[in-house]
Amino acid sequence: MSVLQASQLIKRYQLGVHEVNALNGVDFEAAAGEFVAIMGPSGSGKSTLLHLLGGLDAPTGGTVMLAGQELSGLNDQQATLARRRSIGFVFQFFNLLPTLSAEENILLPILIDGKKPAEFKERLDQLIALVGLEERRTHKPDQLSGGEQQRVALARALITQPAILLADEPTGNLDSNTGKAIMELLRRSCDDLNQAIVVVTHDARAAAFADRVVFLRDGQVERRLQLAQDEAPAQRMRAIIEIMESLEL
């Protein structure tokens, strides 16, 4: 049963005098407990797709249904509330508030929602254990490494138990080992928490953690690849790279 379903998404925008067709009729879906990676070269529309899926932007045509709710027709206030309660974001730049501790940063969506952080203690402890920051709870962002900061961002995205977690190049700003650790964490969130996850990446190694890879080019889906998680990681990666090569990505 898919929590996120997008059909015939079209996105056009004006860039100077030119009209850019960022997306040209894309269908996309993700189910609970499913990990989907979106790949494609620069300008293929993968970030645009993610933004439409997350309600950060409105499509020119087509619909996005999230947990039975139509996202594309919402006004700003409604979209904001949907993002707050049903969607988690992880960005390439970790974007933590420098004045808040790690723990407070994780609780930020709760604070914004005007709820009592105490009620989320159990969830918080669970997430902190998941991302392995037990020793770093009260540290401020400038006392954390890049990888640690991204773990905080991941925990923050998960604190509200969102219907979907969207990540835009989550490893783009990290070294390969740290990046790998973050992908492992995402994978574990998917398995342990039955979390639907969509990751945009152009790193085949990162995409290899997904159950399914969607390849975009020029605003259209070029290929879909189902991966078996019981296969060896190297094998999964090879399958991805093969498609990338065949598509000249």
């Binding site: 933004h51 950060l56 700003d76 974001f89 960005f91 914004i112």
Partner: protein, 859 residues
């Protein structure tokens, strides 16, 4: 030059809003200083010109030193015998009224006391007079050569108002009753026709002496000197003064104006100080703007350094920017100042009760001072950031964004702040500036004090924020707590904004505190001075026994005569100072109103009986403070019978004639000053409800006969308080300007914060923060700034007003009880909070409009 064009000017053009905002502080400061300079000059010029116009070609004037009762006209002979003196023209001044005009005249109120109105007539020498002054005769002719003719030349406008034509015989009031004189001509209201605001006329000297029962007397000799005289006017004045002795004073005509303008000086010092404060706050803004530029352009500077620009070149470019900004702000300030001067001149006309020229000239000195202040302050404020810009390393260009370093000032500035604060507070309390009439050194110390507090702020921001966070969360909701925390970031920027708010709030409180204290004292005095219920005055001298007759009128409880007699008091160095001798009958006076003793332990009945016994005085608290006189001291006054010594019986609060007043009893007035006429009569009625009825009764019985004008004291008080409020409102306006400048700082700082945190705001919006919450977050940050600025401003405002009050006592002799009106405290806090919220709104809205997609990709 090319560099300047490419870098400095373009950088200013790239940030038009910030440039405008920071410039505005300078503009307001410069405008204030210039407006005050222009208006001062205009007031001075107008007053001087009035005296010059009315005194014509007169070089020197001889008047009696002691009183207004005149002297013998035979003095003329000895005057013309002095080498260099060509002519001595006598003047006898008479205050009267036309028998035909309505009895009631409006009581004129100004800084200089009251003016009963009425017609002023000068008895002059018809032959000599035209040589001294140019009378423009518009109708009829000037006085004939007959020195005894009962004829008069009136000012045309006044004659028109009174429906008088040439050839009419008009009745004027004299000590003998109504006497008829013939109007032979009318003069234009220019030159001497401006005397007494045009309610003026001239008649032959001997006729005047006869009409007003002052045979052989004059009040003044106007001297015209021989233009070919070898000795300069100063030495002739000296010779004359020496020859005539201390009973006479020989002065320059314009000298009279000088005294009037001096009285405004305290007021002007206050205005100047407050515009200095506006400029000081403006400097905070400039510093802030340039410090922001350095952070923002770190990459650019790093790149410029990398491609070979020297530190000095970079610093220079920043200073050129400052220069351009300062010049533009100052020039704008000059334009605004010229406009402001018009309003200020109108204000001063009201206070002076005399028109101040509306055509204003810009005094070059004021222009130079205000321009150089504007430029100087801008350069000074920009100096430190400019040096910091030069220190940016080439490697900074490679980093993603400028990392604001914790500078020396943020880490150790509080130590310097504590020292500055301690030293300046000590200096202000010790007050070694008593001899600094313009309060220049004092102002510098106040600026140092504010700088000190501002330097301490960064050290306490953390603690403040932690204490007040729950409050912020309660007011602004969940995002408010985030906004509250944001205040800890960009600390130097925040600090200066809080500092600017603090100064503004403190100034509001100082102004409120000082004017409040002064007004409170003034009110107490006015209440007692205008004691009783009805104030009776007349355009002609009042007979002393009239009070007794009035007290017999049905409904009157008591009536007391008061006489204001000009005299001089001898100072310890042997010189004399002009003061007023107020004569009362202590018993009658006490029935109508009371004295306000400055020491509330004074035994009032004992003091009053000492006064009644004679040869005793109540002195004003102003005189007591100024000359350190105490009860029991002997004080010498110049009287008609020579210098006489009186004993000080009590010190009273009395601001008549700016506090230069002593009170004595009526018998002494008769005995020593040879006068028995009242200036005013105070009446109290039995039933407060019947004031109007009693007033009508007195008017019916005596109004016409004695030319009485009556005002209910309630209405006079209202007018006095209104005048007072007007004078004080100017201070409020200037203090508010400082707050306005500070609010621009809030806009500036928050705008910068919002720009800097664009990506973060994008993340928050993506994470589910609504636009409303973003607005509340920014508003909370501003609210906290307002709260810290407001509360600290409150503390230092109260402290400073107390210190100023003590200082004022030392300098001027006014001893005031400190009164801080609750409205002042409340308004200062409300202003800080409201202004900070209003100022925060534009940047908050900008933050709320952040495009999430652009923001999360924003570097």
């Amino acid at each position: 030059m090319l560099l300047t064009r490419y870098l400095s000017l373009r950088s200013l053009r790239a940030r038009p809003l910030r440039v405008l905002l920071s410039m505005f502080g300078i503009t307001i400061g410069v405008a204030g200083i210039l407006a005050i300079g222009i208006a001062n000059q205009a007031a001075m010029d107008s007053i001087t010109r009035l005296f010059e116009d009315t005194s014509g070609r007169v070089d020197l004037m001889v008047t009696a030193a002691s009183s207004d009762s005149g002297f013998s006209d035979s003095l003329a002979r000895s005057l013309v015998n002095v080498p260099g003196v060509q002519m001595a023209l006598p003047i006898l001044k008479a205050q009267t009224a036309l028998a035909s005009s309505s009895a009631q005249t409006e009581l004129g109120l100004s800084f200089f006391g009251t003016n009963s109105g009425g017609l002023i007539l000068y008895g002059v020498d018809p032959l000599g007079e035209p040589q001294a002054r140019d009378y423009t005769i518009t109708n009829g002719r000037f006085l004939s050569e007959d020195r005894q003719a009962f004829e008069v030349v009136l000012v045309e406008n006044y004659a028109d108002d009174q429906d008088i034509r040439v050839g009419d015989r008009v009745g004027i009031l004299t000590p003998y009753g109504v006497e008829k004189v013939q109007v032979v001509g009318l003069m234009a209201r220019e030159g001497p026709g401006q005397t007494n605001n045009g309610v003026f006329g001239v008649l032959p000297l001997e006729a005047a002496q006869q009409l007003f029962n002052r045979p052989g007397q004059v009040d003044q000799f106007d001297l015209i000197l021989d233009p070919k005289a070898s000795s300069p006017i100063e030495s002739i004045q000296e010779v004359l003064q020496k020859r005539l002795g201390a009973d006479y004073s020989v002065t320059y005509p314009a000298g009279q104006g000088r005294r009037m303008t001096q009285m405004l000086s305290n007021y002007q010092i206050g205005l100047n100080f407050l515009s200095g404060i506006a400029l000081f706050v403006g400097a905070f803004l400039i510093y802030n703007a340039f410090a922001m530029t350095v952070v923002e352009r770190t990459r650019e500077f790093g790149m410029l350094r990398a491609i070979g620009m020297t530190r000095r070149q970079i610093t220079q470019q920043m200073l050129v920017e400052a220069l351009v900004l300062g010049a533009a702000g100052s020039i704008l300030g000059v334009l605004l100042g010229v406009l402001g001067a018009r309003g200020l001149a109108a204000m001063m006309s009201t206070l002076l009760g005399s028109p101040v020229q509306s055509q204003l000239t810009i005094p070059p000195a004021a222009l130079a001072v205000s321009l150089s202040m504007g430029m100087g302050v801008t350069l000074l404020a920009a100096a430190l950031p400019s040096i910091q810009a030069g220190r940016v390393t080439p490697i900074a260009a490679i980093r993603i964004r400028g990392v604001p370093r914790q500078g020396w000032f943020q880490r150790h500035g509080w130590k310097l702040g504590v020292v500055l604060l301690a030293v300046s507070t000590a200096l202000l309390i010790w007050n070694p500036f008593a001899d600094d009439p313009l309060f220049r050194a004092g102002s510098m110390v106040v600026f140092a004090m504010f700088t000190g507090i501002t330097l301490i702020i960064p050290a306490m921001v953390d603690a403040w924020e932690r204490w007040t966070r729950p409050l912020m969360a309660a007011i602004y909701g969940a995002s408010g707590a985030l906004g509250s925390r944001n205040i800890q970031r960009a600390r130097s920027r925040t600090t200066l904004t809080v500092g600017a708010l603090l100064v503004g709030v403190a100034m509001i409180l100082v102004v409120r505190g000082l004017t409040g204290s002064f007004a409170a004292d003034l009110r107490v005095w006015v209440e007692s001075y205008l004691g009783g219920d009805v104030y009776i005055h007349s355009s002609v001298p009042l007979r002393a026994d009239l009070a007794r007759q009035i007290s017999a009128v049905d409904g009157v409880a008591a009536a007391a005569s008061i006489r204001y007699q000009p005299t001089e008091v001898r100072l310890s160095d042997g010189s004399f100072e002009a003061i007023t001798y107020m004569a009362v009958d202590p018993a009658a006076y006490s029935r109508v109103t009371r004295f306000v003793f400055s020491d509330n332990r004074t035994d009032s009945s004992a003091a009053l009986s000492t006064l009644a016994a004679g040869d005793a005085l109540f002195i004003s608290s102003v005189l007591a403070e100024k000359y350190q006189w105490q009860v029991g001291d002997a004080v010498a006054l110049r009287t008609q019978g020579g210098v006489r010594t009186f004993t000080v019986a009590a010190v009273v609060v009395d601001f008549f004639n700016q506090g230069l007043v002593v009170t004595g009893n009526w018998n002494d007035l008769r005995r020593y000053f040879h006068s028995n006429e009242a200036s005013t009569i105070l009446v109290s009625v039995r039933d407060p409800q019947s004031v109007a009825a009693v007033q009508t009764r007195i008017d019916d019985l005596y109004g016409k006969r004695y030319r009485l004008s009556m005002d209910s004291n309630a209405s006079i008080r209202a007018r006095v308080f209104n005048l007072m409020d007007q004078a004080f409102s100017m201070f409020d306006v200037l203090a508010l300007l400082s707050v306005l400048v500070a609010s621009l700082g809030v806009v500036n700082t928050l705008t910068m914060n919002v720009i800097e945190r664009t990506r973060e705001i994008g993340m928050l919006r993506a994470t589910g923060m609504t636009r409303r919450q973003v607005i509340l977050m920014v508003m909370a940050e501003a609210g906290l700034m307002g709260m810290i600025g407001g509360l600290l401003g409150l503390v230092f405002g109260v402290l400073l007003s107390r210190i100023f009050l003590t200082g004022m006592t030392a300098m001027s002799g006014y001893r005031l009880d400190f009164v801080m009106p609750a409205s002042g405290i409340l308004s200062a806090l409300v202003v800080a909070l409201v202004i900070s919220q209003l100022a925060a709104f534009p940047p908050a809205r900008q933050a709320a409009r952040t495009n999430v997609l652009e923001a999360i990709q924003y570097e």
